[in-house]
Each structure stands twice: as structure tokens, then as C-alpha cells.
Amino acid sequence: MSKSFLEVDGLSKVYPDGQGGDLTVFEDIRFALEKGEFVCIIGHSGCGKSTILNVLAGLDEASAGNVVMNGKEIKGPGLERGVVFQNYSLLPWKTTLNNIVFAVKARWPSWSKEKVKEHSERYLKMVGLEHALNRKPSQLSGGMRQRVSIARAFATQPELLLLDEPFGALDALTRGVIQDELVKIWEETRQTVFMITHDVDEAILLSDRIFLMSNGPNARIAESVKVDIPHPRARATIFQNPAYHKTRDYLVDFLVNRSGSALPEKDGTPKIAEPAKGVTQSTPTPAEPETQSESDTAARAVNA
């Protein structure tokens, strides 16, 4: 691996198992993210997805391995990485607006009051909450709270956004609406995003690549599945794309039949899978790297 935006190298986490031995939750996790990529990670409970995300956030420490972002090793949390937690983690004594202001002030301490406020309001508007600026989190529904949390993370314009199952606690309808909003914001901002999810459809809708984890203990990132569907995507129409079904079948097959035994390449990097190869509008070519770059250009062209 050379000079990707984010490089994760040989990460593992070992806990004492309570009986004098050790329990290796995951080991030798290797992957790289490029700038502007949206990557989801899927795996069964207990494979350590959240721990990986917390290590990237700097909130947890790995037992071995390291993470390098922009050529610098990650040690501890930092403002260049924004986190959206599953339980929203809004400060309940602050209003919606002040929760964002809190983050924006931390990011740009030299900004004037008006600038901070204006910036914060802009991001709340982006998630459709301009009518709830002065409400406390306890007066908001779960979906609205998570929107505030997303707005807070985007408002600080981090280089890497980490989303820990952000929609896990929401009902299906609310989840769909906020997914749409996330798609919209992401199309606007093109942040680099690393997200945990349990939802295969959500992963396909949002991501460029999907990491599949094998089961823990000793979990690995076994495969990296390319989602060959051009941007912008929409929840309502994505089902019509034949690549969608190919990708979905592939993911479900992995999670149901193969997640117990799947292994990455010998060098530890995830196996690259392209289940929808040849189905999309991009011309299939024998050499993999070319396919990737072509579809990337295709995606950009659609977005431009």
C-alpha cells in the first residue's frame, strides 16, 4: 500500500477473556481509504467493527498495528476526524443550535460569534432542522436527534467522518428519510466517510466499497466489495439497477454462508470482489485497476 489517504496496517485487538487467557477479537486488519470515498463495513455482531471505528476515532487503542492518515499516525482523538455515534451523544442541556455551535467553536476558535452561528445554522438547514434551533434534544424525536448529530459532524468539516451505525436505533421509515438526507449531504460535500452498518441495502445505497468482516473471534476484513452503481443514487430508483441485485445477492450470500470461513488475501489485504462487473454501463475490461478508474470517472462525470 502506498500513500492512500488513510492506511490501516495490521490492526488487532486482544482482551483478557476472564479465564486467564486472551481473546483476540480481530487481527491483522489492513485496508486503505482514498479521499472522497464512502466505505461501509458490515459484519456480524462481535467481530469488533465498533472497536475498529473507535481506534480510527482515537477513542480506543489497538493492541497492535497502526493507522496513518495523511502521512501522520493517529494517536488520540482529533478534530480532523468527526464521529457520529449510534446514540447521538448530543449534550442534553444545550439546544439544537448550541450543540452545533459547541462543535464549530471547537473547530474554529478564532471565528466571530456571528460567523459560528451562521455556519451552524447552515448545517442544521441542510438536515432540515431550521425550525428546531432552540429545542433541547429531549424535545426531539430519535430521527431528529440523529440529524443534529450528523449536522454536528459535517459542520466541523472533518477530513474523515466516522459513522457508528448511525441509523441502528431508528425505525425503518425515519431511517429511509435520513439516508436520503445523508446521500444528499454527501453528494454536496464529498467527505471521506467510514461507516458501520448492519443493513445491506443501506450499505449499497451509500457506499463506493463495502468491507465484509468474517466472524469473531479472530475476525478479519475478508473482502472489499465494489459497488458499481453510479452517483447520484436515490433510494427510490436504485432498485431498478441490475447491479444492485447482483451486489445485494453477493453480500447476503457472504453474510449467511461464508462469513464463518472467509479469509483475506495472503498478504492480509481484503480480497477485491466485483459482483456487478459487466452489468453496469461501464465497459468491462480484463485489467482490474482500469475498470476501477473508469467507473470512478464515470461516477464523477455523472456528478459534475
Binding site: 477513542l59 482523538p77 478534530l79 464521529v83 451523544s89 449534550l91 442541556w93 471547537a106 433541547k136 429531549s138
Partner: protein, 275 residues
């Protein structure tokens, strides 16, 4: 059907009337007897006077006292307002001093498991000591009865504040601390903008318990040190055998204690938050 509040108020008033009526009846002077016994003649009929005074006498006295609460006619004859003001002044001084110590140390103990473990044995030994037990030592060291009373208030109000602050700070949700961490807040900023507001309701609970205890203790402390204050006043009127004044000042102690608690209750409302 009237609202619950109206009905409760009506019921309260009728309980009051009932209680005052019973009290008034129970303290009627005994029927004048045909003649005084020899003993009664020797006592000049004083036996009849040493009854618990009826509520009418207490209300009459209360009216007189409250219509001129701040008169000062010498060391043993000051208005109820002056006496209460002395007590409140002592309570607040000792209480604020306790706050100045308890909140920072509570913060420290709550943030640092090491400090918690190191200081906990002392707290556990010092906490159950009756504050009045400190009085002789305080009098000897401070050599001033007024300051000793304040010290006793200080020592009794420090524990609930200290322990509640430590508990509140130690139990701030990790999620909120993580929010502070991911936003790279300095330790001081984290303490002030995240931990303090998160722990504030618990801290205020401790402060409310403390003010209650301080007000309980000041009466006893002032009975010991004498001179001024509502505690001294109660004891002085007992020595004067003026039971109407004793009952009146007991009621005033209750009223002021209630007001102090209400004030802290209001403050508690201000910092409360719903999750």
C-alpha cells in the same frame, strides 16, 4: 369539582384550624378552684401560669415580634429578625466556605480514581462525626465563638457537597466525555463545558442536602456558643421561661429553613436537563 390545588389548600387550612383548636382547648387554664391550697398561696398562684401557652398567645406574640423584627434593646433583647439574620449569616458563610473547598476537591476525586482511592478512607472516617463534636476543638484553636460556629457549619456542609460532586463527576456519561475528546477540548474546557453541566444536577442535590443540614446544626451550635442567633434566642427564652417565644422561634426556624431549601430547589431547576 374544584381543582386539586384548591381542594388541597382547603384541606390544609382545615387541618390547621383543627390543630389550633385542639391546642387551644388543651391549654385552657384550669377552672378557678374554690380556694388556693396553702402551697399555691405560697407560690402566688404561679402554677397556673406554667402551662404551655395557647396558640392565641403565640399568635399575639408573633404579631408583636414580626411588626418590629429588627429592634435592638441590648444583648439579651434583640428582634427576631436580627437573631435570624445572625444565623443566616453564619450558615451562609460556613456554607460558602465549604462550597469553595468541596466543589474543586469533589471534582478532583470524581475525575481521578487514584485521588478517590487515596482520599476515600479519610472522608469515610470524618463524615459520620457529629459536627458539634468539633466545637471544643474549634473553640480552642480559633479562640472565637462566632468563628467556631461558622466552622461547625463549614464542616457539616462539606460532606454532602463533596460526595455528590465526586459522584456526579465520576458518573458523567462516557459518550459526552467522548464528544469533548473528539472535539479536542482542553481538560479545563472539558471540565467547564461538559462535565460541570452534566454533573450539575447531582452537585445541586448535594448542595441542597448541605444547606438543610447546616440549618439544623446552626441552632444547636448557637445554643452552645451563645450571644446571638436564633439558636441562642430559643435557649435564652427557655431560660426566661417564655414558652410563647420558644414556640414562635421554633416556627420561624422552620420557615427560614423552608426558604433556604426553596432557594436551592429553584437553583436545582435551573441546571436540570432531560435526557
Amino acid at each position: 369539582m374544584a381543582s386539586l390545588n384548591v381542594r388541597a389548600a382547603l384541606l390544609s387550612v382545615s387541618f390547621l384550624i383543627l390543630a389550633l383548636g385542639l391546642w387551644e382547648m388543651a391549654t385552657q387554664p384550669p377552672e378557678a378552684q374554690t380556694g388556693l391550697t396553702e402551697y399555691e398561696m405560697l407560690m402566688g398562684g404561679a402554677e397556673q401560669e406554667s402551662r404551655v401557652p395557647p396558640p392565641s398567645a403565640v399568635i399575639k406574640l408573633a404579631w408583636a415580634e414580626l411588626s418590629n423584627p429588627f429592634y435592638d434593646a441590648g444583648a439579651n433583647d434583640k428582634g427576631i429578625g436580627i437573631q435570624l439574620a445572625y444565623s443566616v449569616y453564619r450558615v451562609l458563610t460556613g456554607y460558602l466556605a465549604a462550597m469553595a473547598i468541596a466543589l474543586p476537591i469533589g471534582f478532583l476525586i470524581g475525575m481521578s480514581p487514584l485521588m478517590y482511592k487515596a482520599l476515600n478512607p479519610y472522608i469515610q472516617v470524618l463524615r459520620p462525626i457529629s459536627p458539634l463534636a468539633w466545637m471544643p476543638l474549634a473553640l480552642f484553636i480559633i479562640q472565637d465563638s462566632d468563628a467556631s460556629a461558622i466552622f461547625v457549619i463549614f464542616i457539616c456542609s462539606i460532606w454532602p457537597m463533596l460526595l455528590n460532586t465526586a459522584f456526579g463527576v465520576a458518573n458523567v456519561r462516557q459518550d459526552w466525555v467522548n464528544v469533548a475528546r473528539t472535539h479536542e477540548l482542553s481538560p479545563i474546557k472539558t471540565a467547564l463545558t461538559v462535565i460541570l453541566p452534566a454533573a450539575a444536577p447531582t452537585i445541586l442535590t448535594g448542595m441542597r442536602i448541605s444547606i438543610g443540614i447546616a440549618w439544623l446544626v446552626i441552632v444547636a451550635a448557637e445554643m452552645l456558643v451563645g450571644g446571638t442567633g436564633i439558636g441562642y434566642y430559643v435557649w435564652n427564652e427557655w431560660n426566661n421561661l417564655d414558652l410563647a417565644s420558644v414556640i414562635f422561634s421554633i416556627l420561624m426556624i422552620g420557615v427560614v429553613g423552608m426558604l433556604l431549601d426553596l432557594a436551592l430547589g429553584k437553583a436545582q431547576k435551573l441546571v436540570e436537563y432531560k435526557e
